[in-house]
Amino acid sequence: MTEKLVIIGNGMAPGRMLEHLLKKAPGRYQVTIFNAEPRVNYDRIMLSPVLSGEKAYEEIIIHGDGWYIKHGITLYKGHKIVAIDRQAKTVTSDHGVTEPYDKLVIATGSVPFIIPVPGHNLPGVLTYRDLDDVRAMMLAAQSRAKAVVIGGGLLGLEAAAGLNAQGMDVTVLHVMPTLMERQLDPAAGYLLQRAVEERGIKVITKANTQAITGNGKVEQVELADGTIIPATLVVMAVGIRPNAAVAKEAGIAVNRGIVVDAGMRSNDPDIYALGECAEVSGQVYGLVAPLYEMARVTASQLAGDEAAAFVHSDTPTKLKVTGIELFSLGDFAEGDDRQEIVLRDASAGVYKRLVLKDDRIIGTVLYGETADGAWFNDLKKKQTDISEMRDTLIFGQSYQGGASLDPMAAVAALPDDAEICGCNGVCKGKITGAITAKGLTSLDDVRAQTKASASCGSCTGLVEKLMVLTIGDKYNPAAVQPMCGCTTLGHDEVRRLIKAKGLKTIPAVMQELEWTTSCGCAKCRPALNYYLVCDWPDEYADDYQSRFINERVHANIQKDGTYSVVPRMWGGVTNAAELRAIADVVDKFEIPMVKVTGGQRIDMLGIRKEDLPAVWADLGQAGFVSGHAYAKGLRTVKTCVGSDWCRFGTQDSTGFGVRIEKFMWGSWTPAKVKMAVSGCPRNCAEATCKDVGVICVDSGYEIHFAGAAGLDIKGTEVLGLVKTEDEALEHIVALTQMYREQGRYLERIYKWAKRIGIAEIKRQIMDDGEKRRAYFDRFVFSQKFAQVDPWSERVSGKDKHEFRPMASVGFAQAAE
């Protein structure tokens, strides 16, 4: 026999409860709903986007009329229940409908709190609770006049943002010193206030509303301190209280809300209450997550599962104002037994605070960057002991890769939608999904299929961990990575065999080392070309067709197919004649962009390929040569002004920088090499993040190497201190040659050094004079063939086919 279930209220909580109930006990109840609002169930959380105009009412409907018909539910729209007769087990609506029940669910929600100031009932004073309020506000907003929102909490700010978006001049009055003080600490409240004010919304804190006045309608708001704010619309958003009046009149136990047990049952065993009107263990709730939990429990109880029980959990708060990122969770009051971790990044507008107690997170406030909110919530919920990761905790989950924490577990714990590859926007689920679905076993396969780690590569470690997690031993990261798909040999093996077998051409390498493709690919050909150039400088004929376009045309290709040109400025020093020549070239070729580079020289961007030889010819007239800004080779030697000018300079850093650059330019290296010479430890040339750097000191030259300031940031290692400039040059050159001979193509010095070991490099360059001089001599020999200015070669006609179209066809026909 079907039982009669009557529900008072048709908000989100009873709506969700019905969904559960229809699944758990289909057909058990005949359901009747009385809704005081004349409409179906809609998503109240989305009222703010409706107010701001980002969504329409139709888009926020949860259950349309059809849903009620389909499930045989009777919905009385616009019927407010005025009486519950617990003896007769009936309810009666204000339109006189009386309905009997076996089980009754009260879900009457809450009513907005109205401050009882004089004038609170004037026309033009609204609350922010349901769609009718939103429609009234939108109507008022059409006047584009002034609005006052009383209340700087979640609802008040969302109302203010919505009215502002509708074109109103909005002032928010908040009685406390900072906004959203229940969810945010003062620092985050301050940042929030600034962000709100940047949108043109005025905020007055510590504002005590004294009266709302006007002649027959709202005209102004008066504060206790005498301030008068003109307004035609006043929205009260100071809070809500449970709507329990009808239950109380029926003699059901009511405290703040309708008192229910963990099974959501009131003191009448046939009457349940859920939603904002219910009070469980002394708590009332206003956020959706606990209300949905109540819905689940009530449905289970009604379906016969008496063990179902509501458990309290803190719910994170998020502000739904487009462009403001805010997350708050738990308890963040200060206390003697609590510690906090705070991160502030003023320029990025980021503030993060974690409140800890006994090495566990009890509260979190995130402002400006909230991506880790879910993770912190998880740590808090699981009461995870964070002492091991305390130092890096605040930086979020992606930073938890340190030795003290199992990095595998951290990757495993990432949710499927966690972004792994920032360059290509690839999330974890996409990567693991592709690995499984397509049976991928190599990093290259994953890169090809998903694009993850295929751009800057800084996420490679994460991707490899995902592979191990997904396919276990089938992925063996320790195995030698082949150079590319054309061979099974790794870079080191290929380099060794080129020397051992005396292979001196690319076809010879491919033949002898059993390449699986006829003429390689875009990965192995440039690498092989470099290895051969480096190992046989006098015998090998550089294969231009195996060079990347930049090194083939000696300029940098840009996204639109034009090129940029950077002439060498030795040590960053220039003069009037050079600058004049550059200015003339810029004018003559209508170069759209001229920019000073980070390497102390001048970049001219947007040059047509056909114009390159003519540009170089003009620059060459002024004495310029190629700056190799495009090369896997020596780029710049940055300098400071040193002892010639600077009162702190200890050596001639400028002169030494120029000397290094003139000695080493033109040399090809596995990856680009950037250098710098600073005249004193103040290090104005920033030598300690370069591939090779020199810090001049009174007693000589401190040589640094293996720094990085790109994808990775790494301070340099100290190679050693030498007394004279000549010695410094010999050491630097020898170090570079060692790297040239051992580095894998595209492997920067810092990565090579990590692989070889700093100590080993020091031993060969600092301690073994014979080895050092041998390296030095080999470098000097190779420079004999390398120091030819590629620009002047091409001005003289070399590779002229590169810079001209082969033919122009079809134009005459088109013109006629």
Binding site: A448, Q449, T517, S518, C519, G520, C521, A522, R525, P526, Y544, Q545, S546, R547, F548, I549, R552, V553, I557, K559, G561, H801, P805, M806, A807, S808, V809, G810, F811, Q813, A814
Partner: protein, 110 residues
């Protein structure tokens, strides 16, 4: 009717290289492989419009210089996991001379 237009000699193009032919409908990239096969395709990568003529030629394919897509010279289609294609243009070799079929371009403009 095929309208074959002369664009020059095969020796104008380096092996494993390319040259461009300017047309009113945009640039055509003409490739010569290590085995002296010749292909013509639009000089416009289906990914982000990179100039394919500037890429490294290997086998009968070219790697785009901007983001390393590999495009088949025979079919114009992206190889590997990428999806996309460029238009191919018929080429004829008569002795040393190269011709491309121009109406293939004109029909596109019409």
């Amino acid at each position: 009717m095929m309208n074959w237009v002369s664009i020059g000699s095969i020796s104008d193009i380096p092996r494993r290289g390319a040259r461009c032919v300017a047309t009113p409908q945009g640039k055509i990239a003409v490739f010569r492989t290590a085995e002296d096969q010749v292909f013509a395709i639009e000089d416009h990568c289906p990914h982000k419009g990179g100039p394919l003529s500037q890429g490294i030629v290997h086998g009968a394919a070219v790697t785009c210089p901007l983001h390393n897509w590999v495009i088949s010279l025979e079919t114009g289609k992206a190889l590997g996991a990428d999806e996309g294609a460029v238009r191919t243009i018929p080429v004829r070799i008569e002795g040393e001379r190269l011709f491309i079929a121009l109406e293939a371009l004109a029909s596109r403009a019409a």
